[in-house]
């Protein structure tokens, strides 16, 4: 498998705060890479750097062999990277269909309105919003809005999807359904980079996991490696004594 996204030595400062420091990682094609870490570790900032919302102070981001460092968000989508937001950003005055049309029209393939309409129908069926096509985006529940975020991103037909806490705020049944949707997306050949606090979900979904703490990479490896890494347990998963006493950290007990 070839490398799709290659992040090298990425750094960003907000005034005196070093939000991201010399971060290096990669995402391979068709891979699910989990990005975890305590609040304020810089996870969403990494998304904003990849997505072009902030230009990095240092470092380089390459996607499918092309240098995309510092390009504007609307250029990044055209390369084949789409994202969802941690805090949902629906276009409230527009319908579910129109929201997704924006994603499809201005996404990777830069589709015409009529072609976009077909893409949207397919995606809404996959995500489970097919019966809400003509509803206003503002009428959706929080779970519905999360699905809409995902649907819009998928309509862009990305090669890499950035998911920022799509499971947060969902009830267990909704989480189950969303996990199935995410698995389905990977089946279609899309690589996924996801931020998630729900340990059980991210451990079972991810092929590999990168752990961030205070803007730096703390650990990297398979879910199993990371869960047993002492530094990770100390910084994020919980009491280090739990491992020494032979008690495995509870998967759902993120701080």
């Amino acid at each position: 498998m070839t490398t799709l996204l290659d992040v090298e030595n990425l750094s960003l400062r907000f005034g005196g705060v070093r939000a991201v420091q010399s971060l290096t990682f990669f995402v391979k094609e068709r891979e699910i890479l989990g990005l975890i870490g305590p609040n304020g570790a810089g996870k969403s900032t990494v998304f904003n750097l990849i997505d072009g919302i902030y230009p990095p102070d240092e470092g380089r981001i390459a996607f499918a062999g092309k240098d995309i460092t510092g390009e504007k968000p609307y250029r990044i989508v055209r390369h084949g990277i789409a994202r969802t937001h941690q805090i949902v950003q629906p276009l409230s005055g527009m319908s579910v269909l129109e929201n997704c049309m924006v994603g499809a029209c201005f996404g990777f393939r830069n589709q015409s309105l009529s072609h976009a309409r077909e893409t949207v129908r397919e995606v809404l069926a996959v995500v489970g919003l097919a019966d809400r096509v003509n509803d206003s985006a503002s009428q959706l529940t929080i779970a519905g809005k999360k699905r809409l975020e995902l649907a819009r991103a998928l309509c862009a037909e990305p090669k890499l999807l950035l998911l920022d806490e799509v499971l947060a705020g969902l009830n267990p049944a909704e989480v189950e359904r969303m996990i199935e949707v995410i698995r389905g997306i990977r089946q279609r050949g899309v690589a996924i980079l996801m931020i998630e606090h729900l340990m059980q979900a991210i451990m079972s979904l991810s092929d590999r996991i990168v752990v961030l703490n205070t803007g730096q990479k703390l650990a990297e490896g398979t879910p199993q490696d990371v869960a047993n890494n002492k530094a990770v347990i100390e910084a994020y998963l919980g009491d280090p004594g739990m491992v020494e006493n032979g008690v495995r950290p509870h998967p759902g007990a993120a701080p």
């Binding site: 609307y74 950003q89 527009m94 924006v102 201005f106």
Partner: protein
């Protein structure tokens, strides 16, 4: 949307019917007072409909939209009176030059958002007014006059007034068609996404700086053409009239009154407001009172009916969604 599919839209025929009434009614009766009232209504509709491209679609409050109308008037009047151009050629030249200038301004001031942008649009209007007031080739503060000879190309003054009226109604129809076409296009979809949430639109791939500047520039074209015809008809132009900020505010009121972001709304709002204004101006009790009324009206709309007339219609008669846009 292909031209043929355009013909199948009910709203297209609403525009055609409205234009036909505007032309046929005063022509059939030969009523000059009716014509003069409708000329103003057409101008208000042109300004409102084009302002709506920015205000309603892209969500940017342009307080100084009147600058397009005034500058267009100046370019047109100058080309007709000093360079002896044909009025239609002068109007087209006014549209193109003002539109190009707007693109240039737009790329600059559209980096601003919210009320910073709104303030800067006032700045553009005031800056242009100050420039023109001191620009000798355009007559400075006293303005430019058109000699009676200039009307010969349209068959003499009496005939010219009718011709200009029909031309202005044509510009009005084009404004509505433009607004309708943009709303149904990919460009319009991108603009409306910007109006809803500019950051989200950018993340979804809408090239926001380009789209905003294009919208600003396009919204300048037909008002400039209209300004050229209108001030040619008035036979003189001076900075006070051409860059009247009060007029700009009235146009915002008309768009809000009719319903922002719809195609028909600004036209309905403009027509209603112009009729009300005409009545207020001629009624002795209220003369020179129309801006007070406009202010009160704006307050009432914002508080009680943010969707304007169209919002009310769509809520109470949902079937109208199939006919009106």
């Amino acid at each position: 949307m292909t031209p043929l599919r355009f013909l199948r839209q009910p709203f297209f025929w609403v525009i055609v019917a409205m234009t036909a009434v505007f032309i046929a009614w005063p022509l059939a009766t030969g009523d000059v007072r009716l014509r003069e009232s409708l000329v103003l209504a057409a101008v208000y509709i042109i300004l409102a409909s084009n302002l709506n491209l920015m205000l309603g679609y892209a969500g940017y409050v342009n307080f100084g939209s009147i600058v397009f109308f005034g500058l267009g008037g100046y370019v047109g009047v100058y080309l007709i009176s000093e360079q002896h151009w044909h009025p239609v050629a002068a109007a087209l030249a006014a549209g193109i030059s003002v539109s190009a200038l707007a693109l240039l301004f737009g790329l600059g001031i559209l980096r601003l958002r919210g009320f910073y942008f709104a303030l800067s649009t006032i700045g553009v209007n005031e800056g242009v007014r100050a420039f023109v007031s001191n620009f000798a080739p355009w007559g400075g503060a006293s303005g430019l006059y058109i000699s009676l000879d200039s009307y010969q190309s349209l068959g003499g003054p009496r005939q010219a007034l009718w011709t200009i009226y029909i031309l202005l109604v044509g510009v009005m129809a084009l404004s509505l068609l433009l607004s309708f076409g943009i709303k149904r296009s990919k460009f319009g979809l991108g603009l409306r996404a910007i109006g809803q949430n500019e950051d989200a639109a950018g993340v979804l791939g809408v090239p926001t700086p380009l789209y905003k500047a294009l919208a600003y520039s396009i919204s300048a074209f037909l008002p400039a053409v209209a300004g050229s015809f209108y001030f040619f008809k008035s036979a003189f132009i001076q900075p006070v009239d051409a860059f009247d900020l009060g007029f700009s505010v009235e146009v915002i009121v008309t768009v809000m009154l009719g319903g922002t972001g719809t195609v028909a709304g600004p036209a309905i709002g403009a027509f209603l407001y112009e009729e009300l204004r005409g009545w207020l101006l001629t009624s002795p009790a209220f003369s020179n009172f129309q801006l007070v009324i406009a202010g009160a009206l704006l307050l009432a709309i914002v508080i009680f009916a943010p969707g304007g007339v169209m919002g009310w219609i769509f809520r109470h008669i949902p079937k109208m969604r199939r006919i009106l846009e």
